[in-house]
Symmetry: C4
Subunit: 276 residues, 4 copies
């Protein structure tokens, strides 16, 4: 992928995913907290389920497209992996990226099954998401041999976010619905997204001179830069969370839940049962 676009594209995907997840979890948390005001209008159990199914389908679709793109792009492997004439492996980078997409696709497929049927235990979607992130970090970890110092360093910093996401997704298996963990994972997703852009700018600057990849002061600046990205991700997640909370509360106060009559009692009971 050695190009600016090759880093900007996953950066966009992760950033959009981070914003989407922050909004989703903030909405659901606000819904849970304001149940007494009839907040289930915004996010009933059934609509949550529908949303999860749509989200999983979209991720599954993009993973599939990503795998195909890695294989059949202009100078791609087209399912070749070994060059029998020169006796060495070819296109290893494309295959590695396709493998990463494969795991995100697997996670999305499991999430789809979990939310559309009753067959699988619900925590399985988080476990698979954790495994997908772990696999991404695992492949990046052994991806760095023989590169220059700064190149290795920016990718190592990325691993903090990636393994952090894996760890928190694994913790969510045991603490499902904990808003603190969910927001932390969203923040790390945003961090990963913006850091991919940063890697693109540092290694393949679209304008201006190339960076000196062996200068130690560059490395120190990049480390500090990572902290700034983290602070910015925290800010974005925080602002989004507050906005969603305020909007939900103000809308609930404006329109009292008059339409929720006795007819819906049965549905609401089902909701509260699910919550346990």
């Amino acid at each position: 992928m050695g190009s600016f676009q090759g880093h900007a594209l996953p950066g966009c995907f992760f950033y959009v995913a981070g914003i989407w997840w922050t909004g989703k979890y903030s909405l659901w948390h606000a819904t849970r907290r304001n149940r007494s005001l009839g907040s289930t209008r915004f996010a009933s159990r059934a609509s949550q389920r529908r949303l999860e199914i749509i989200e999983s389908s979209v991720i599954l679709f993009f993973s599939f497209v990503g795998m195909l793109a890695e294989q059949f792009v202009a100078d791609g492997p087209r399912l070749h992996l070994y060059d029998f004439e020169e006796k060495h492996w070819k296109y290893l980078h494309n295959w590695q990226h396709a493998t990463m997409y494969l795991f995100f696709g697997l996670a999305a497929a499991v999430s789809l099954i979990t939310h559309s049927t009753e067959a699988a235990p619900p925590a399985l979607d988080r476990l698979m998401l954790g495994i997908a992130f772990f696999n991404e970090g695992f492949l990046f970890l052994y991806h760095l041999h023989g590169r220059s110092m700064l190149d290795v360093h920016v990718h190592q910093l990325l691993l903090y976010a990636v393994f952090g996401q894996a760890l928190i997704a694994f913790l969510e298996v045991f603490h499902r619905g904990n808003i603190i963990l969910e927001l932390l994972r969203c923040t790390l997703t945003l961090l990963q997204g913006s850091w991919f852009w940063e890697i693109g700018f540092v290694l393949y600057p679209p304008s201006g001179p190339a960076w000196d990849l062996k200068d130690h002061s560059n490395m120190m600046f990049i480390t500090m830069c990572y902290s700034w990205h983290l602070a910015f991700a925290l800010l974005v997640a925080g602002v989004l969370y507050c906005t969603v909370s305020c909007v939900v509360r103000s809308r609930l106060k404006r329109t009292p839940p008059v339409e929720m009559g006795l007819l819906k009692t049965r549905e609401r009971d089902a909701e509260s049962e699910d919550e346990i």
Copy 2:
């Protein structure tokens, strides 16, 4: 053990163990979920106990056979360890493998005691299993000195699965019966099994030319290969789990639990008490 067979054999054992455990835990989970349909016919508390005892006995037997085989195989140590004439240790590999079997044997013995008597706390079987896997990983970790790069790498990758199993078995001490952890452990057992085969094929190719153990692109391919093995193990565990779940549910629906009359009430009470 430096041979293809020497790696294929433990690979088979772990693969069979992985499939067996996946089936067992899937069946028990399906049983717990469908209690209202009388699913305890398939796996009553007593039959679960009997199954555990049989399983532990089998593992104990094979551990014992393995230890004997390592000692009394054609060019084995026959309980010799130190060569007093040349003043150095001999047969260290055989003794190390025997030590690994010893710990799995210990784990099986403890599991046997735990499930056949009331003396030991029930979580002890998982602790001992965790210690057995930890010991396996520990011995492999200090096993690699002075080998070539790829040889070290394939064994290091194995350690992810081995220490992962140890960690999850330790977590199960506190979260016993959590199907997510059980399936994850099964998946890692399957991964370990298939990876032993892969090690055999890479280091001692039964046909074709030997691999270049110092080529970096080989190392990158092997890393990716590990991800594929993990994906395959996830797939196998997932398919097995779904199959068992479906079979249990379809059989329960076909034959309603008519035979469970009042006479069995007492037994069912005992079951539900145990569950707490």
Copy 3:
């Protein structure tokens, strides 16, 4: 900051923070334990809240002052970071320190919002504190390249305290109000404070000859010294905890809660509800 004062100043801040926190948590713990004696006079729910708000405001203020001071001190960067003429980064240390203050400021701001409104989940303040400490440790970790052995070693020892605080603050997200964790975090804050002083004395001795930064016996002494600082921090935290506990109990016994009549029943009910 390469100066004695530059290490003594943060040392003072952390030491004061450690003593303050130890006192605060000890008082609240004593209050919770002696509720039956009417201890809520000392630390009612409302006064706890007010205290937290004041504390957060003070930290926020000092973080802001610290950031300004790092920028506009005599030979500071004044918001410059890159020297376009000589094409390298300048003032990286000042910017790194300002970044550390930024995260503590963020944590204080979040704590302020958490305790003054109902918008944010209460555990968020600990998460942000954990992230602030993690960020401090993270920047120190990549701060040490190319320094002499003893310099690296004293900063590495500091990281034990810093990452320890981050870890414990993260554990407090799940175990809020656990006095053991709170006291342990206070102890590590005290340790960090006194160790900053030690670093100042070792690297920039205000009197006497400079230390030999390459002598191995110095390194061994420093390691042992760290243990002594830890023991001293444990002692200080322990003595403070005991003193506060005794004072609270003796005052409660001297003045029985006669003034707590029926009028206050409603307030006390609110207290006990909050406690859940």
Copy 4:
């Protein structure tokens, strides 16, 4: 301490402590399980407390003696640490060992306070024990610079047991009274004890030729040896646990609790309340 006796002595202490703890926790666990048979005769709440106080006093006494011995032994430092004439640190090893004893003494003192008064939270004794073990491991970790390969290796293996004990003591803060964790900690204490003896035999063989400290096959043998020590420690702990359990049960069955009349009801109620 560079001598056989210097390693055999702590080995004895830890081994005795391991056996003592295994017996104590096994007895208390058996007592808790057989409450219905009147087992509180063997270990009532008050007698448990008394036992803890005696144990803490003994540890405190030996820590104090150890610290004095390290200082005032024939060629000891007598509270000197710095040689002002030759300008270097002296007797660092003695001071390091004294520091280790200091932390075990602190842990014992805290345990004494915890069990003899109501002032401190009960989990504090485990935290301090964990810190004492952590400190021991921490000092050993930076103790090894410049030694020969096998010397470093045997001490590194010791760290597995030491840090393992620290970790499990820390887990016990949250899972107090979990027999699995208690037995695991006892096992690691036994392992540490017997491994100290092994270190003595390897580095300072009392008879026979010295070991070749640079031979790699020696290192592999020692690694395997550590596994055997672990297996032996597991066996000792297991046999002790079973013996104590059997003795308690057989004694309870022989002498039914006839003497426990109505007069003691009140005491038993207090017991069961404590248990919560």
